[in-house]
C-alpha cells in the first residue's frame, strides 16, 4: 500500500528543483562525480549553510537521469571502492543554461521590486 501525498508538495518541489540545478552545475564544473562526492561538494560550496539530508541528492540524480540530463557509469572512487559516477550530457548542459538564465531573471525582478522605495502611483 502506498501512502498519499500528505504534506505540502510545493515546498519540496521548489527545493528539489534548485537541488537539481546545483547538481548540474557541480557536474558541469567538476566533471564526473559519484553521489558522495556531489554531496560533499555542495556542502563545501554552500559553506556549510545548506545542510540537507544527503539522501535527497539521489532523488534528484534519478530525476535528472530520467530527463536525460546526466549519464551514469560504474567506476572506482578515491578509496578504490566501486561507485556509480554521474556526468552531465548535452541535454543537461542545455537545461543548465536555460534554468540559470531563468534564475537570474527572476532574481533580478525580485531584487528590483524589493529595492523599490515607497513610490505611490498617482
Amino acid at each position: 500500500m502506498s501512502k498519499g501525498r500528505a504534506a505540502e508538495p510545493k515546498k519540496s518541489e521548489v527545493l528539489q528543483g534548485t537541488l537539481d540545478l546545483m547538481i548540474l552545475k557541480t557536474l558541469h564544473a567538476m566533471g564526473p562525480l559519484h553521489g558522495f562526492g556531489i554531496a560533499r561538494r555542495i556542502e563545501q560550496i554552500s559553506q556549510e549553510m545548506l545542510r540537507l539530508n544527503e539522501g535527497t541528492v539521489y532523488t534528484s540524480l534519478l530525476r535528472l537521469q530520467q530527463l536525460g540530463s546526466i549519464a551514469c557509469a560504474w567506476g572506482a572512487s578515491e578509496n578504490n571502492r566501486k561507485a556509480k559516477f554521474y556526468s552531465i550530457t548535452a541535454i543537461g548542459r542545455k537545461q543548465l543554461a536555460r534554468e540559470t538564465e531563468n534564475w537570474d531573471r527572476i532574481a533580478g525582478v525580485i531584487g528590483r521590486v524589493l529595492r523599490l522605495e515607497g513610490h505611490k502611483v498617482t
Binding site: 502506498s2 498519499g4 539530508n53 544527503e54 535527497t56 572512487s77
Partner: protein, 907 residues
C-alpha cells in the same frame, strides 16, 4: 514539453522492467553511508557514533527508496491495478452479493441500452447517404385540404405537383421523388412480397448513393411510356433472391408476373429513405403504368396522390430559407397542379394550401410518428428502473462498508489518505459496473431483437438496422460510469469519514454512532419506494388502458372469420366478367366443409384502408358532412357477426340497372337524420366536377362497426352493394366465417380457389389477428410497463427488506433490553413494523406526488383512463404497501425472537 515526454518514457520503461536496477541502488547507498562513516571517523568520532551520525545525515532511506520506486513508474496506474485486483478478490469472496448486484445492474443497463438502440434507430440516426444534413423533405402544411385517391404510405404529391416542385432550382440542387409499393415475386398461388419503390431517375444521385454493381435508373423513366425498364435491387435482396450471384446484371427479376432486367445493385448500408422500412427493388416511375391493373397508372391522373419528394439543398440554403421559398411558391405550384376534377369550391380551398420543408437528415418514417413518444417514455421508465437498482446497490455497499469500518480505520491510522481509500472502494464499484455493463450489453441486443419481433406483424414488415454505433456505445459507457458513481461514491465517502479511534472501539456499535449512517440508507429506501410507486402506477395505467381497449365492442365478431384477398389481374378478365367470377368463387368457397358464410367486401374493419366522401340527407339544406363508405355483397353483415336494426340486406334484385341503394349504420342516422329511422329516406353524395351528385335510397339500418381504429368513436358508415359497382377491380376481398380453426379454413379456401384457377394470387388474414395488430402499440406499452413496474417493485421490496434487517441488527441490544424488561413479542413486532411503515409511508407520499406530475407525459397514449386516475393510484399504493410490509414482517418476527441473555452477553 520534451522533458515531460522524456519523464513519461522513463516511467514507462521503469514500469515494464521492474526490479532490475534496484540492487544497484542498494550498493550505491551502502557505499555512500560507508564513505560518510569514514569521513566522520577521520573527523574524530567513534565508529559507532560515526555510523549513527552518517545515517542521520543521510536521512530516511526507507522514504528515499519509496520515492525512487514511485518515480520509476506511474503510481496512479499501479494503484488502480492493485485496487482492481483487491476489489476482484472481494467480489469473489462474496458470490451471492456479486451475483445479485451484477444481475440487477445488467437488467437495468440492458433495458436502457435496448430502448436507446431503438430510439437511435427510429429517431436519431442519420440516413446512410452522402451528407444527409443537406437533405430536405417537402410536404403539405398542416391544415391543407386535398382529396382523391391515396394509394400508398408515400402519398404526398401527384405527379403533376412533383413536376412543379422539381422545376424549383433556386433552393434545391436537385429533387427526387419516390413511391412505396409491393411487388409479388410468386408466379401464382400464395403471394410472396418484395418491398418496392417507384423512383425518379435521379433518386440515387440526389442521395449520393453509388451502386456497387451496374448503374442507376435511366433518365427516360421519368416520362410516361416505357417499354422494358430495368430494376435496381438492394444488396440484401441480391443476397436473398440471387444468392449474391456475381452475374446478376445478366439476369432479370419477375415482379407481378413481368420480367425486369437487373440494372444495378446498391450498397449494403442503403435501405431507402424510410426508417422502419427497407426496399428490395426499385423501378422507374413509368413502370407504374405497366403494373397498373387498368393500364393507365397514376402518372397522368391528377387525383392520384402517390409520390413523396426530397431535395438536396444548394450550398448556402438552409431548411428554413427553403421553407420560406416554398411557402411563397405555393400558390403557383397549387395552380399548376390543380386536379382537373375538383369542383370550384374545392379548387378554391386547394389553392390556399401551403407547402413546408423539414429536415430530411433522419429520413421519413411512419414508424417514428407512431412510436416516438412511447419510446421516449419507455426510456424514462428504464432510467427509473436503473436508478432503483443503483439505490439497492448503494444500500448493499453501505451495509458492507460498515462491516469494513475497522479495516478502513486501521489503514487510515497507518497513513493512507482518504482519497486513496475512496479510490480503493470505488474500484470495487467500477468492477461491478463493468461486469454489469458487459452483461447488460449482451442482454440489450437480445431485448431489442425481441422487441422488433414483437412489433413485426405479418402484414407490415419492420426493418430496423440495429447497428452498434458510436452513440449507443457512448450512451452505454456513460450509464456505466454514472451508475458506478451513483452507487459507489456515497458508501465510499461514508466509510472513510469515520474517525479511526471510534471505529476501533469494541464492536463500534454505540447506540448513537450508527444513527447518521442509517439516515442515508433510509433516504435511499424512501427514494426507491417512491420511484417504484411511479413505475407501478404507470404499469397499472397501461395495463388498464389495454384492458379497456380489448373490452371495447368493435361492433362485429372477428372470431372464426378469415379474410381472403384474391388478385386475378394476370387473368385479364374483362370488367363485365368479373362479378361472375367473384360469385363463382364465393359459391365454391361456401361449399367447403365448416364454412358458414362468405361475402365480398372492399375493406375489412380495422384494415387501415378506407374511403370517405361528402354527403347530405335528401331534402336537407344543412352543410355537407363526411361519411365513410364501403361496398359489400349480400350476407356480409351476417358473416362478420353484426345484425340489421331495421330494413333489409342487399339481395339479387339490387343490380346495375336498379336504383342505387345503400345500408347505413346508426352513427350515420344520428349525423344525417337526427337519430330517427332513415329506412326509406335518401341521401346524396358529392360528385366530381362535371359529374352529377349521386342519390342513394336507404334500404337498411345496421348496428355500428368500428372502421379504422378501436379507439375511435363509431363513425357514420354507408354501405353500398357490390353488385352496383360500375367499375369492378381485378382484385377482391372476401370474408369467410367458418366453424373450423383458421388454419384449416385457410387451407380449404386456398384449395377451392386453386380448383377454379391455379394462377390466381391469394393472401389470407385472420381477422382476430388483424384486430390485435391494430392494438400493437398499446400491447407493447402494457407489456413493457408491466414488466418494468414488476421489476421495480421487486427491487424496492428487496431494498426495504435489507434495510429493515440491518436496522434490527443494529438495535439488537436495545431490543434485547426491552424484552428483558418485559416487552412482549407483539410489541417488538409493532416497533419494527412502525419503523418500516414510516419509510414506506414517506416513499408512497413522495411517489404519489411524482406520479401525478409525471402522468401528463403518458396522457395521449392512454385509453379510457386519465393519468391522474385516483383508483389506479390508490390500488398501486395499497399493493406496494402490502408487499412492503409483508417483506418487513420477516425481520420483525426474528426481532421478537431475540434472547435477551445472548445479546447482553455480546456486550
Amino acid at each position: 514539453m520534451i522533458p515531460r515526454l522524456r519523464m513519461a518514457v522513463a516511467r514507462l520503461r521503469g514500469l515494464l522492467t521492474r526490479r532490475a536496477p534496484d540492487p544497484e541502488f542498494d550498493d550505491e547507498l551502502r557505499a555512500h553511508l560507508a564513505e560518510l562513516t569514514e569521513l566522520y571517523i577521520t573527523q574524530g568520532m567513534t565508529p559507532g557514533d560515526a555510523a549513527w551520525a552518517a545515517r542521520r545525515q543521510f536521512g530516511n532511506s526507507a522514504l528515499l527508496e519509496e520515492d525512487r520506486r514511485e518515480m520509476r513508474t506511474f503510481p496512479s496506474l499501479e494503484n488502480l491495478w492493485h485496487d482492481l485486483l483487491f476489489g476482484a478478490r472481494q467480489l469473489r469472496l462474496n458470490p451471492a452479493f456479486t451475483a445479485i448486484a451484477v444481475l440487477s445492474l445488467a437488467l437495468g443497463i440492458g433495458a436502457n441500452t435496448a430502448i436507446f438502440e431503438l430510439v437511435n434507430a427510429v429517431r436519431l440516426r442519420s440516413l446512410p447517404v452522402e451528407k444527409p444534413e443537406d437533405l430536405a423533405y417537402v410536404r403539405f402544411q398542416k391544415g391543407s385540404v386535398r382529396s382523391g385517391n391515396f394509394s400508398t404510405r408515400s402519398s404526398m404529391f401527384t405527379y403533376a405537383l412533383w413536376q412543379q416542385i422539381h422545376a424549383e432550382h433556386d433552393s434545391f440542387e436537385d429533387s427526387m421523388a419516390w413511391s412505396a409499393t409491393r411487388f409479388n415475386l410468386a408466379p401464382g398461388g400464395e403471394k410472396r412480397w418484395a418491398e418496392g419503390l417507384y423512383v425518379s431517375s435521379n433518386f440515387f444521385r440526389v442521395l449520393g448513393v453509388q451502386p456497387i454493381l451496374g448503374r442507376g435508373p435511366e433518365a427516360a423513366g421519368d416520362q410516361p411510356g416505357c417499354a422494358s425498364p430495368g430494376a435496381i435491387i438492394s444488396y440484401g435482396f441480391w443476397q436473398r433472391q440471387f444468392a449474391g450471384d456475381p452475374d446478376v446484371l445478366q439476369r432479370s427479376v419477375t415482379l407481378d408476373g413481368r420480367p425486369f432486367p437487373v440494372l444495378g445493385v446498391t450498397p449494403p448500408s442503403f435501405f431507402g429513405v424510410e426508417v422502419g422500412n427497407r426496399y428490395d427493388v426499385a423501378l422507374p416511375l413509368c413502370a407504374d403504368q405497366l403494373m397498373a391493373s387498368d393500364g393507365k397508372g397514376r402518372m397522368s391522373d391528377t387525383r392520384e396522390w402517390w409520390l413523396s419528394v426530397m431535395g438536396r439543398l444548394r450550398p448556402g440554403w438552409t431548411v428554413e430559407r427553403t421553407g420560406v421559398r416554398f411557402r411563397t411558391l405555393s400558390p403557383v405550384i397549387m395552380q399548376a397542379g390543380l386536379p382537373v376534377s375538383y369542383r370550384p369550391e374545392d379548387a378554391k380551398t386547394f389553392l390556399k394550401n401551403k407547402l413546408e420543408v423539414v429536415p430530411g437528415e433522419t429520413g421519413v418514417s411512419g414508424l417514428r410518428r407512431e412510436y416516438e413518444q412511447p419510446l421516449w417514455l419507455l426510456l424514462a421508465t428504464t432510467g427509473l428502473v436503473l436508478l432503483i437498482a443503483c439505490a439497492n446497490l448503494a444500500n448493499l455497499l453501505l451495509a458492507r462498508a460498515s462491516v469494513r469500518e475497522r479495516d478502513m480505520a486501521v489503514r487510515q491510522a497507518i497513513g493512507a489518505s482518504r482519497a486513496r481509500l475512496i479510490a480503493q472502494l470505488m474500484a470495487e464499484s467500477l468492477l461491478l459496473a463493468i461486469l454489469g455493463t458487459a452483461l447488460g450489453a449482451a442482454l440489450a441486443r437480445l431485448l431489442s431483437e425481441t422487441l422488433i419481433a414483437f412489433l413485426t406483424t405479418s402484414n407490415s414488415g419492420l426493418y430496423l438496422g440495429l447497428g452498434l454505433d458510436g452513440r449507443v456505445l457512448g450512451f452505454t459507457a456513460a450509464i456505466a460510469v454514472g451508475t458506478c458513481v451513483l452507487f459507489g461514491l456515497a458508501p465510499a465517502l461514508r466509510a472513510t469519514r469515520v474517525a479511526p479511534a471510534s471505529a476501533m472501539r469494541a464492536g463500534g456499535r454505540g447506540l448513537t454512532a450508527g444513527r447518521e449512517r442509517a439516515t442515508l440508507r433510509r433516504a435511499l429506501v424512501v427514494a426507491q419506494v417512491a420511484l417504484s410507486l411511479v413505475l407501478l402506477v404507470g404499469a397499472l395505467l397501461f395495463v388498464g388502458s389495454l384492458r379497456k381497449l380489448l373490452a371495447v365492442d368493435p361492433g362485429f365478431r372477428p372470431q372464426g372469420v378469415v379474410a381472403m384477398d384474391v388478385d386475378f389481374a394476370r387473368m385479364h378478365f374483362p370488367k363485365d366478367r368479373r362479378p361472375g367470377v367473384f360469385r363463382e368463387l364465393m359459391d365454391h368457397v361456401r361449399s367447403q366443409p365448416g364454412v358458414r358464410a362468405v361475402a365480398q367486401v372492399f375493406f375489412t374493419p380495422l384494415s387501415g384502408n378506407g374511403w370517405n366522401d361528402a354527403c347530405w340527407a335528401g331534402g336537407s339544406t344543412g352543410e355537407h358532412q363526411e361519411s365513410f363508405f364501403n361496398r359489400v355483397s349480400p350476407g356480409y353483415f351476417q358473416t362478420i357477426g353484426t345484425t340489421l336494426a331495421a330494413g333489409r340486406d342487399f339481395n339479387d334484385r339490387d343490380t346495375l340497372s336498379s336504383p342505387q341503394v345503400a345500408i347505413v349504420n346508426e352513427a350515420f342516422a344520428k349525423r344525417f337524420f337526427g337519430g330517427r329511422n332513415p329506412v326509406g329516406s335518401s341521401f346524396f353524395v358529392e360528385g366530381n366536377s362535371g359529374v352529377p351528385d349521386q342519390r342513394y335510397e336507404i334500404v337498411g339500418l345496421v348496428h355500428n362497426v368500428k372502421y379504422y381504429e378501436i379507439r375511435e368513436d363509431f363513425q357514420p358508415i354507408s354501405y353500398l352493394p357490390m353488385a352496383q359497382d360500375k367499375d369492378p377491380d381485378s382484385a377482391a376481398t372476401f370474408v369467410i366465417q367458418s366453424s373450423l380453426p383458421p388454419g384449416d379454413t385457410i387451407r380449404s379456401a386456398k384449395a377451392a380457389v386453386a380448383e377454379i384457377n391455379p394462377a390466381m394470387d391469394v393472401e389470407f388474414t385472420i381477422l382476430t389477428r388483424q384486430v390485435e395488430g391494430s392494438l400493437l402499440r398499446d400491447r407493447l406499452m402494457a407489456d413493457l410497463a408491466g414488466a418494468f413496474g414488476l421489476l421495480a417493485g421487486v427491487l424496492a421490496t428487496l431494498g426495504l427488506y435489507g434495510v429493515i434487517a440491518y436496522m434490527v441488527a443494529r438495535r439488537r441490544n436495545e431490543i434485547g433490553i426491552r424484552i428483558a424488561l418485559g416487552a412482549g413479542r407483539f410489541e417488538v413486532v409493532r416497533l419494527v413494523l412502525r419503523e418500516a411503515a414510516m419509510l414506506v409511508g414517506a416513499g408512497l407520499a413522495i411517489g404519489a406526488g411524482l406520479s401525478l406530475g409525471a402522468g401528463r407525459a403518458a396522457a395521449s397514449l392512454l385509453f379510457g383512463l386519465l393519468p391522474n386516475d385516483l383508483v389506479t393510484l390508490a390500488s398501486a399504493m395499497a399493493l406496494l404497501a402490502f408487499v412492503a410490509l409483508l417483506a418487513s414482517y420477516g425481520p420483525a418476527h426474528r426481532a421478537s425472537g431475540i434472547q435477551p441473555m445472548q445479546t447482553l452477553r455480546e456486550e
